[in-house]
């Protein structure tokens, strides 16, 4: 398990849990479909920690603080 910011690009990831994120931010991500067990695909991870990933067919962009608190499992191909 690793934070989204440390995950490998272009690999299939499974969302596991939220780290230390306040309720409002967590709610927004849940509304976007980020629930445990959900598959996501990391598209970009910039040096400053900003990430873009695909969640339920949508491209989602996050800042480094939030991306670092999203814990994922890497699924081997």
């Amino acid at each position: 398990m690793s934070p989204l910011t440390k995950a490998k690009k272009d690999t299939l990831l499974v969302f596991s849990s939220f780290g230390n994120i306040v309720d409002r931010e967590k709610q927004k991500l849940i509304d976007l479909g980020l629930i445990p067990g959900e598959c996501i695909k990391l598209l970009q991870c910039a040096r400053n920690g900003y990430v873009t990933f695909i969640l339920k067919g949508s491209r989602i962009a996050l800042d480094c603080n939030i991306a670092g608190e999203i814990i994922v499992n890497e699924v081997s191909k």
């Binding site: 709610q27 849940i30 976007l32 970009q44 400053n48 900003y50 873009t52 996050l62 939030i66």
Partner: protein
Amino acid sequence: MKNNLKEIKICLAGNPNCGKSSLFNNLTGLRQHVGNYPGVTVEKKEGSLVKGSYKINIVDLPGIYSLSASSEDEIVARNFIIDEKPDLIIDVVDASNFERNLYLYTQLSELGIKVIIALNMVDVLKNKGQEIDCGLLMKNYGILAVPTIANKNKGTEDLVKSVIDVYENKKDIKSTRIDYGNFISDHILKIENIIYKDILLTAKYSVRYLAVSLIKHDKFVIQKIEKSKVYEELKKQSFESGNIISDKFSDSVDSVFADRIYTWIHSVAAVAVKTVAKSKYDISDAIDKIVLNRIFALPIFALVMYTIFKFTFTVSEPFVGWFESGIEFLSGYAGKVIPEGVFQSFIVDGIIGGVGGVLGFFPLILFMFFAIAFFEDTGYMARAVFIMDKFMRKFGLHGKSFASMIISTNGCAVPGLMAARTIESEKDRLITLMVTPFMICGAKLPIFALFIGAFFSAKDGANVMFIMYVLSVVFALGAAWILKKTILKGKPAYFIMELPPYRMPSLKGILLKMWERGFLYLKKAGTIILLVTILIWAGLSFPKAGGEQVENVSEEQAASIQVEQSYIGKLGNLIEPIIKPIGFDGKAGIALISGLAAKEVVVSTLGTIYSLGEVDPEDASSLSEKLQQDPDWSKLKAVTFLVFCLIYLPCVVAVAVFFRESGSKIKWLLFLAFWTTVAAWIFSFIVYQGGRLFGFGG
């Protein structure tokens, strides 16, 4: 006949950027702004249509992902749905993102209000090689879904027919009830039983929605029931149930509920979504690899911005010239055919000289709108917000603040200020409101174009203009940084944003947007600018200087004396000591004051002032030529004037919107007035006196 119409109140709800406003425009015939990025609509818009014996009143709501709203625009949408209770909700669902969009549908459906799905963008879904079987949705789940392609106005008629049928109970649609499992359902039931004890609650709200929201500790709903006689009992039970559920499933209660909802959605999608062909290659990811690349992102962004400005100024240049020549011709012609006197002065100096000065820049405004509409419709705007977030944070702003600033630059500070509603943090929003007026809006553009055209070569014009745009951003960022470090300290808000897919903009769509925004500019020229111009002309023409003052002097000198002796001339003399240290005389001062009505009025006022000094109608030169020839102006003074215009108080309409958006607090309004005026004076002083010190003229 009108009174016999049955009225149906409906609203359009849906995720951001799913095509609600396009559908609203199709339904009502109105022209609300649409764009390929989330957050275009930030307040509810109303319209109506008459179909047979029905009048359907339609409200277009800002986009929401769920009823758990956090930003101001989302709160507007949620409050309308819960409090206004429409007869029917059209949930606009992006068919190409069916599962995620259906999440909101499940919540709307639990409100006890009839919901129809407008299954929009079915063409995009088809390109993905998929289709949705609406028949199965109806048969298996009682969901009425009507396929639409809003940007091509397809499916609108069917949707209207369905609205009437559902309203008249001719179609048997069912409310969706998610099966949360026995354990959770028992807790929901416990809370529902308490709610039933208060008839006021059951009369006003859906019991199911209240129960589920209370278990999820929804602050908005808790606030709604505060006055209920069962408040304490409800609060106790809901907190207890929420905690028990959370413990049982070792997850937050929100996640537990969302998981059950998505399980249901997944089962619906498995039945209704069919793969019928191979998916076409989506180019969005490939483009993003370049435009969001860690090295190329910022240079590409700077290049895009520069291209917009270079395109605007280079392409519009000949058109502006033709417009100016046309206005000069008109001025000369009117001077010849209208007998000399007050009426001639009113038409030639007042209306043509004033409003004509503003209209001369109409082509430039159109080309600017064209360029920005193109980038808006491609989907790049959302990327720009994302790219700029990290940078903006260094100055205490949010990536979405950049959207406000761009929208302001795009046309007007008013929608720019309103776009700040999408920013969740109140402090970040307030800072954005404070600095957005610094941007060069469409109304300021004629001032910049006038002075740059007058004092810089055509070759340098676009570059100087670009520098001015950069300067406006620098001022905005600097001001934001100061505010964040002093009176508006706080943690910056998070950045979570959906990036829309790239789309090829249609020429028709761009031209339409360009014309709509351009038309607003013309409308303003024909209303507020015309009115203020007439007032300025009257203020400059009366009282009439006469007697010895104008005897034995040339006509130019007489005109100059007239301006000096007029009401506005006296006002100019009064403020001259304050603005003299920054290089301005009374004429510039009057133009700046009149610009508080609308920024374009600065140009029309100068047009009127300089037309009054003109004696030969056949020699009607353009305003920029008159400024060039006036010894009271210089390159340095022109730059100083532009710096002042960049920073000083926005127009009255923008100030009024600022007041509303900042929570209607007088202290923020006074602060805005004080700090923009003082900052404008200080920076202008530095530019002017600094320029003189370094030998750039006086």
